[in-house]
């Protein structure tokens, strides 16, 4: 039975991290080489953690299912990374970044973690610049900043539209240096399929070699998961094809509590579905909403082309409903409104898409200015769709983008299994119920460069775990679990392909556990997911062999986990009788249709302990707000 202890240090919020660092135990430099640490994932959090731990002298074994560390999906982040440098002299500070992040998370995050995130944000920028990350600069040679996601200060650092790429290449360069020095061993094309727990502590992992199909055992004195989020539960999302929840989910089933699984962020400006064969929904930068106007036809089942629909037959619904924020209304509100109008049958061609129209801006500013601002995005749009957005409005629709929920961690980023640390999007810690723009990159690097190297060391110094041989019976048991699952999947020979079942799950999740949820829909979703899970284990067809490169088998294992995680998302959403951030329950809204939080009953982290498939026990970590006053968000 899990007992949640956040381990937030005593004292003033601004001094907690400093004091905690002093109070933590250190590993003597000569002893560091006696400790082996496993890091799973080489995105921003994983690469920065593996590199930093290697630099300190630990033996690090890093794992990725890609062919190279540099492929992780952090690479696709476009916008930027926040830091409280106040280089613009516009009143930013660590406290303001902390305040904005707690408020933006709709008061469902842990204050102490968020403060530390803001505090180390400045070190991240210094680190990246020292590594040679080519951030945008002013003419005087100093770093440029922009305002992002409606922030009132300019605190976002960026490298063209490829900030994630440049930060990841920086972190991977640090990782490569340690690989070259032999302090980090990188195992590519390995997928973690099981966590090995011995005497209650994480002591290793089981991987499948994705080229040979061999099941491999790796032992260590601490395990770090940095394996990203679970948006691909929805099948269609902005995430990469391989992004998955398997490592985190298998750890969950071994005893790591899963926190706030229902907090998912649906990004409003993605490309709509074009057909059944579509594999993902590319993100278009949110900056487009600065000049684009969002509308749908007033009439249901409109068949005319956009430019043939007269002005007075268009509904600029965001401008109508939220006159002061209009097209710049926050992500959750914009997404939900798009769904509403499409549910009414007023989406483009009666389907799921709305117009993002630049005609007015082009008329006002001229085509050149629009091209200067958004040229690369317009090019990207026309490459994908074959349409010219200078002449016809873009078509957009919301898509799952980021998951704020994840494995529960304490202040040290340690999960409810001692010795198992969870970083980046894979944990639940810093974004509460909603993540602000340019904060994901910040959190990944904060966890990896500046938090885990201290807290993992503290664990090793305090517990002094000894090396465990992979002949240990628990390794054998874990291998057997993996083997059995692989054999089972390959033996079903049913009539549905893995993708067919994944798509079905995606539709259930999108319709009933998506942007707007209600009790009836969630109960239906839980039943439908259970049925689909049964169907999967009876009727899926996984072709090919186990001892071979077998991508169908890889996907089948991931979908099997989604079929359990999806249910937990619905269970969590059903439990949370309030609306907050990315979680909107239709029963809990104000007369104006705004999210209605319930701080008296739900100001807690919902951490779920796995009991058996389809059965969890809820543990609550109460959230206290001592530095930021609880208040209602309003965007009218």
């Amino acid at each position: 039975m899990i007992k949640l202890d956040s381990k937030v240090p005593e004292g003033n919020i601004a001094e907690k991290w400093t004091n905690h660092k002093f109070n933590m135990k250190l590993v003597n430099p000569a002893n560091k080489r006696k400790f082996d640490i496993i890091v799973v994932g080489t995105g921003l959090a994983g690469a920065s953690a593996a590199a930093s731990l290697g630099e300190l002298g630990y033996n690090v074994q890093a794992f990725t299912y890609h062919d190279s560390g540099r492929r992780a999906h952090s690479i696709a982040a476009q916008g930027g990374i926040n830091a409280a440098k106040n280089y613009q002299n516009d009143g930013d500070s660590v406290f303001r970044l902390f305040y904005d992040t707690v408020k933006g998370g709709d008061f469902r995050s842990r204050e102490a973690n968020v403060y530390r995130l803001a505090e180390v944000s400045n070190n991240i920028i210094d680190q990246c610049v020292a590594q040679g990350v080519p951030f945008a600069r002013e003419y005087g040679g100093l770093l440029d900043n922009r305002s992002f996601g409606g922030a009132q200060v300019s605190r976002t650092f960026y490298a063209r539209g490829q900030t994630g790429q440049q930060l990841l290449l920086g972190a991977v360069s640090a990782l490569n240096r340690q690989i070259g020095k032999g302090k980090v061993t990188l195992h590519t094309r390995r997928e973690m399929l099981e966590l090995v727990v011995i005497d209650g502590h994480a002591r290793g992992i089981i991987c499948r070699n994705l080229v040979t199909g061999e099941i491999e055992k790796y032992s260590a004195q601490a395990v770090v998961l940095a394996t990203g989020g679970y948006s691909n539960v929805f099948f269609l999302s902005t995430n990469a094809m391989n992004s998955n929840a398997t490592a985190a989910w298998r750890a969950h089933k071994k005893g790591a509590a899963f926190a706030n699984p229902c907090y998912t962020q649906i990004h409003p400006t993605c490309l709509p579905l074009h057909g059944e064969n579509q594999s993902k929904l590319p993100l278009m930068s949110e900056s487009l909403r600065n000049d684009g106007r969002i509308w749908v036809p007033k009439k249901k089942g409109e068949t005319r082309k956009a430019n043939d629909i007269p002005e007075d037959e268009r509904d600029y619904y965001l401008e109508r409903k939220y006159p002061s924020f209009g097209n710049l209304s926050p992500r959750d509100i914009s997404s939900r409104s798009a769904k509403e109008v499409c549910d009414e049958g007023r989406g483009i061609g009666g389907g799921e898409a709305v117009y993002l129209d630049f005609a007015e801006a082009i008329g006002r500013l001229g085509k050149n200015i629009i091209e200067e601002r958004y040229g690369n995005l317009f090019d990207m749009y026309s490459t994908i769709t074959g349409e010219n957005p200078y002449q016809v409005p873009m078509k957009i629709y919301p898509a799952p983008h980021y998951t704020m929920g994840g494995l529960w961690v304490d202040y040290n980023l340690q999960s409810s299994i001692p010795g198992l640390f969870v970083l980046g999007e894979a944990n639940f810690s810093d974004h509460g119920a909603n993540r602000l723009g340019a904060s994901a990159l910040m959190q990944g690097l904060a966890d990896g460069y500046f938090v885990a190297p201290y807290t993992v060391g503290n664990y090793l110094a305090s517990e002094k775990p000894s090396r465990v041989d992979t002949d240990h019976v628990e390794f054998g048991n874990a291998v057997k679990e993996v083997d059995d699952k692989v054999k089972k999947l390959l033996s079903i020979h049913g009539k549905h392909t893995v993708d067919e079942i994944h798509k079905k799950l995606g539709r259930i999740m999108w319709n009933k556990v998506g942007m707007a949820r209600n009790e009836k829909g969630l109960n239906e979703a839980i039943n439908e997911i259970k049925e689909l899970r049964e169907d999967f284990w009876k009727n899926v067809n996984v072709v090919g062999q186990d001892k071979d490169l077998n991508q169908t088998l890889e996907r089948a294992g991931r979908v099997a986990d989604y079929l359990e995680l999806g249910e937990l998302m619905a269970v969590d959403a059903l439990n949370r009788n309030e609306s907050c951030g990315g979680h909107f329950r239709e029963e809990y809204q104000t007369a104006e249709g705004e999210a209605l939080r319930n701080d008296d009953d739900y100001a807690y982290v919902a951490a779920w302990e796995f009991q058996e498939v389809g059965k969890w026990q809820l543990h609550k970590e109460n959230l206290e707000f001592e530095n930021v006053k609880l208040a209602t968000r309003s965007y009218k």
Binding site: C128, V129, Q131, R137, L142, S173, A240, T383, G386, H493
Partner: protein, 256 residues
Amino acid sequence: MSSENLNLTLKIWRQKSATSVGSFEEFKVSVSPDASILELLDEINNDLEREGKIPVAFESDCREGICGTCGLVINGHPHGKIPKIATCQLHMRNFKNSETIYIEPFRAKAFPVIKDLIVDRSGMDKILQSGGYISVNTGGVPDANEIPISKDVASRAMDAAECIGCGACVAACKNASAMLFVGAKVSQYSFLPQGQPERYQRVQSMVATMDEMGFGSCTNTYACEAECPKGISITNIARMNNDYIAAKIKSEAVDA
């Protein structure tokens, strides 16, 4: 968006393993012009799985042209013949009805085939691990604004840093040279003040590893630049050569 499906003949390279002999397998397909070529492969694979057959192995991840995972030779061109896109950004509307499309893996001595369309590009990572970094540890670095860098220099470093490491340059080159890839990384750091202390050691180490991994030499055909999905300029190769020659005068020789 267009609606009429295209009827196409695909000839896709199938090869069971690195050591087996490969050949083209033919598929007749009908596909929406709005699908990407990878979505077409998804459909083919889904059909194969439904028939209990082994799907075509190919790699992809972000499907937005930034991760560098996908990489196919389409009708003789790495990433297809449309300039400045990755394979995942190639949509079927760029093909004509009843066309025959050849799909092959990247071919180079340094990129052995693993299965079907998947090749092993780890040689590129080995090059980076031998010097593609600035040697700073986490912490103890100066404030970011203590290193002023002119906008122009930062912008040129960024031009080089945009490389996605896909290996199309190697596949396009008749010598299977990786010099565009290596030149881009060398140039990014050579432009920046942070990269100066190790500038001449770095280029020697990286070039030595590049040779060791079996990549060929540059003979200035510019094929790499033409096929690069990010339009990385071959001037990066000239800059690398320049640094490499200067290294012989300015720096201790590096043993590789």
